[in-house]
Symmetry: C2
Subunit: 116 residues, 2 copies
DNA sequence: ATAGCTGGCATCCTTTAGGTAACTGGCATC
DNA sequence: GATGCCAGTTACCTAAAGGATGCCAGCTAT
């Protein structure tokens, strides 16, 4: 029987972890929303204005998904009219270095394309 | 006229950078493929085996996209039969910290879910 | 000779992400 | 009393991503 190849097993494991992350943050909108909310934008319409191009429907769905993954917290205040406030959870802070990395890479990549 | 709000402008800029990155790296497969190739898997069928569940059609398309974004290099050797070799470009190395971050986060997230 | 490997391509189909538009109910404003 | 803001929901639709299957041509090992 062939020997188990630890390299390949390790890589397969890494790929699985990567896919777990992708499962949570995949799509066009989740990370941009997180940036906006983390920065302090807490109201639905304000978030929508902060993330250019997003529609109410998509924003609503994405916020629900983020809430389910415990990255944002939704609070409803019993004012009149009811106020809804979105904030990032403490757990969301663990994504911050990743997000900063992506912002930096995107900036660099953009500059690089302009040079060509 | 209202004052320009530097915070909001800065956040909008960050979101744009983030979206530039997502444009390159978004989707279910690109980063996993990059991990496999970067680790040294260079042949088409080997890459396919390394990324569980991917089909030839999708792999082929993703490799082309990655090649266009200068993240992988495709070399054809004039052997018989022709050998095709995929490698990561030097530019791809700039994504490595990001990828490692995502792997680490995914692992942590997975562990966290198991604890609940 | 025949089975299997290589690096894919072609065709067809399903699923999902995302977009458009209209609408709600309660309040404030003009 | 009409308009507009808030925080969404609903129904419908398109485009893109992804999946299943079969195939090719040239080589190799049995």
């Amino acid at each position: 029987m062939p020997a188990i190849q630890p390299d390949q097993a390790a890589v397969a494991q890494q790929i699985r972890h990567l896919q777990d992350t992708l499962y949570v943050v995949n799509g066009k909108w989740k990370l941009p929303i997180l940036v906006a909310v983390h920065q302090g934008t807490s109201r639905f319409r304000d978030i929508q204005r902060s993330v250019p191009g997003i529609t109410t429907k998509v924003l609503s769905a994405e916020l629900k998904a983020l809430e389910q993954n415990k990255l944002v917290v939704r609070r409803v205040y019993d004012t009149s009219p009811p106020t809804v406030e979105y904030t990032t959870s403490p757990y969301c802070a663990t994504l911050q270095t990743l997000i900063q990395e992506m912002i930096a890479w995107g900036k660099n990549h953009h500059d690089r394309l302009r040079e060509e």
